[in-house]
Subunit: 437 residues, 2 copies
């Protein structure tokens, strides 16, 4: 009997997150204070983030970071997520490749984002914070943070990118059911928002804009911290539970991936599934390929420049050494709202520079075509973001078919697309277009 | 360490469905041919249903029915579903009761409906059928049947109740992604639909109406069978995988339920989780209470009459001995579309008559209040139908609190409500009302 799904026993769940910075030969370059151009220290981040998160952000020495007991307890509500052998997709492609996916869409809020939201809310609560702010694109992160905040009794204010707020009204409702306040961004509630709207009254918003607003609100509100759903190193750190579980689950399946694939917005789900496997590449010379799938309309990894840039549109954040399209880049209105970000995390940027991973860009139509094939084969409607990972997987599986090679591919299904059916509707009606940069 | 979730090993998954009819002291009364008033035989159903399903429908002797290998294989993609200890909900209520729920919302299509859709599509395919028709309310069944049909290479036509078609456009899109044809009912594509629209051009549709249309289309189409998502005995039979798994999972948790609770439309998810536990009540005298939670606006169990009635509005089906509000009953436009049905399955009707189970009616506002409490506590947005089961659970948990009794409650979370966020929106905005009959 072929096994379809692999779960870990609760006792086997990860008790520590994996910090790849400790194992990197070339560490990420320092974050810089934009005024002094001096390297940022953890203390410099305390006004913005919980202190423990600030320390995790800059930690380049400890390979393993303990997951607090309380966070482990909450992980047990939905983790391990299943590792699934995608027999249906293999058959639909007719590939000799063995395809597995880690199904993060079964988390309560529907995506991997909860893994970091719980950790961030926990540390904020521990340090006496009462309010949190954040940005969200498609709303996966916003929903996760809203739920985590509600669990820890924190007030949450979420700036949702305007185009997504309008495209995906149900995601806003989900955040509201969890008790969060949701504001479309750019808004008139912040200086940053007002300035952007003055320059461009029809600005559709981007993650960079929403970050500026959330950061500003956090600064102006007593006892309030800002939280971020991707890009930063501590976010990828929390997401390594995905890869650590997948490592054990692949072992249960008796396989080791030749390729690990994930979609790419700021890097958190990509880092989450990749880094634990990448340590075997760094330390033991394993040959695994790591493929980040980004949208062709927002291709920072394949067409951006590696340079110091701001993480937000207004320039409130430290300068980050990263692949970027420029912090004023205005991404096209693709439905994969979570991938509409101009930059890449500093760890991933360094790894790409060092040739430890690669990137591909995927057009919107190819991504939805892949998503529909997957849906019909596996029964799960994937998030438009995750469709990029599926499209990259299908490309590789077709190469295997052409070459007659039986490779093992692992991809991350970062979330479901049930709240994105409007996008599928438009795709099926032939109303979607590509926006290649 | 307290365990939150219980899964079965693939090897421990049920290999047979449980047919409660074999153990019932008073068997359900026969289905009658409306013209001759003679009991229906399996052969009489062959024109409408796959032959094996027709035989299952009337089987009152075999306690266990083998699950075909192929269906078992497909179950393994998503089963077992987790049994979850609802620590969050218990805390939110402040109850000494131990609350568990069986989480069917993690099935690929988001509800328990797939358990029967796979079986029905399998038997149709086996018997050379090429097309299937069905009705759907909220769309949970329609989505399940569409996916199952796509897996077996069958063409699917789904009549969706018009009010749900309009309230829940995303569910229609999901069916279309799976390749089904979706028609709002009442429609002009059938005689039954035309007659209803002639009488009442603004008819909002009901499951009874949609069944008439789907039955008629099946009759008029070569090589086409009709499939049904609830009410019928073979549907509950397939759904017993829920309760059979839950039985073993409760054993893993070291508990046995004092109460088993499920929402009630036609009876398939209620029967699915209840019947395996009920056999211990019938055979061994266990004291478990079984509670069906129906909407106050469509209360066939609490306010209907036990009599012979048609299963559809037009009168195409056999006469069923059941609790019913009358086949011309027009349910109010509540958002729990899956519960907008005038009758109850014949097995459940007999069990209720014999006092083996009980029923409660829940108002729309109470159901959404319960759903929001559950969402904040457990992170899962429940389907409006499932909110009725949660509301009934909360009522019982509050009774436990008042009496200081530590009872064990098991309820079925039949599906998620991610495609029903419009309803939650309206609830949060104070725009929903109660419709008590």
């Amino acid at each position: 009997m072929e096994q379809k799904r692999f779960f870990l026993k609760e006792a086997d769940l990860p008790k520590q997150w994996y910090n790849i910075q400790a194992d990197m030969v070339n560490k990420p370059m320092p974050l810089l204070n934009p005024a002094t151009k001096q390297p940022i220290k953890a203390e410099d981040l305390y006004p913005l983030f919980a202190q423990e998160l600030s320390r995790q952000e800059l930690n380049q020495t400890d390979r393993w970071i303990d997951i607090p007991e309380k966070v482990q307890e909450m992980y047990r509500y939905y983790r391990s997520t299943p590792l699934v052998r995608a027999y249906g997709l293999e058959k639909a492609i007719g590939t000799p490749a063995n395809i597995y996916f880690k199904n993060e869409s079964v988390s309560p809020v529907g995506s991997h984002k909860l893994n970091s939201a719980l950790a961030q809310a926990y540390y904020c609560k521990q340090e006496g914070v009462t309010n949190v702010t954040t940005e969200t694109g498609a709303g996966q992160w916003g929903a996760a943070l809203s739920y985590a905040a509600s669990l820890f009794g924190l007030e949450a204010a979420v700036y949702q990118v305007k185009i997504s707020y309008e495209q995906k009204p149900y995601r806003r409702s989900i955040m509201q059911v969890f008790g969060a306040q949701v504001i479309p961004s750019p808004s008139m509630t912040t200086r940053a928002g007002k300035d952007i709207l003055t320059r461009d009254p029809n600005h559709q918003g981007s993650l960079g804009t929403a970050i500026s607003e959330a950061v500003e609100l956090a600064r102006m509100t007593p006892n309030c911290k800002y939280t971020l759903g991707s890009v930063l190193s501590h976010v990828s750190l929390h997401q390594t539970v995905i890869g650590l579980e997948a490592e054990k689950q692949m072992e249960m399946a008796g396989e080791y991936p030749d390729m690990v694939i994930a979609c790419f917005g700021g890097g958190s789900n990509f880092g989450g599934i990749s880094f634990p496997f990448m340590r075997h590449k760094i330390l033991e010379g394993k040959k695994t390929r790591f493929i980040a799938a980004e949208p062709a309309s927002c291709p920072k990894l394949t067409k951006g420049k590696f340079e110091y840039d701001f993480g937000d549109e207004t320039g409130y954040t430290p300068l980050l050494p990263m692949f970027t399209l420029g912090h004023n880049f205005k991404p096209a209105n693709i439905h994969a709202g979570g991938l509409r970000y101009h930059g890449a995390g500093v760890i991933v940027s360094q790894l790409l520079k060092d040739g430890l991973m690669e990137a591909v860009d995927i057009n919107q139509l190819e991504s939805f075509k892949a998503g529909c094939l997957f849906a019909k084969a596996e029964g799960i409607i994937p998030a438009p973001e995750s469709c990029h990972a599926i499209a990259a997987t299908i490309r590789e599986a077709i190469k295997c078919k052409e070459a007659g090679e039986k490779k093992t591919i692992l991809f991350n299904l970062s979330g479901h697309g049930l709240v994105d059916m409007g996008a599928y509707d438009q795709y099926l009606a032939g109303n979607l277009v590509d926006y290649t940069l």
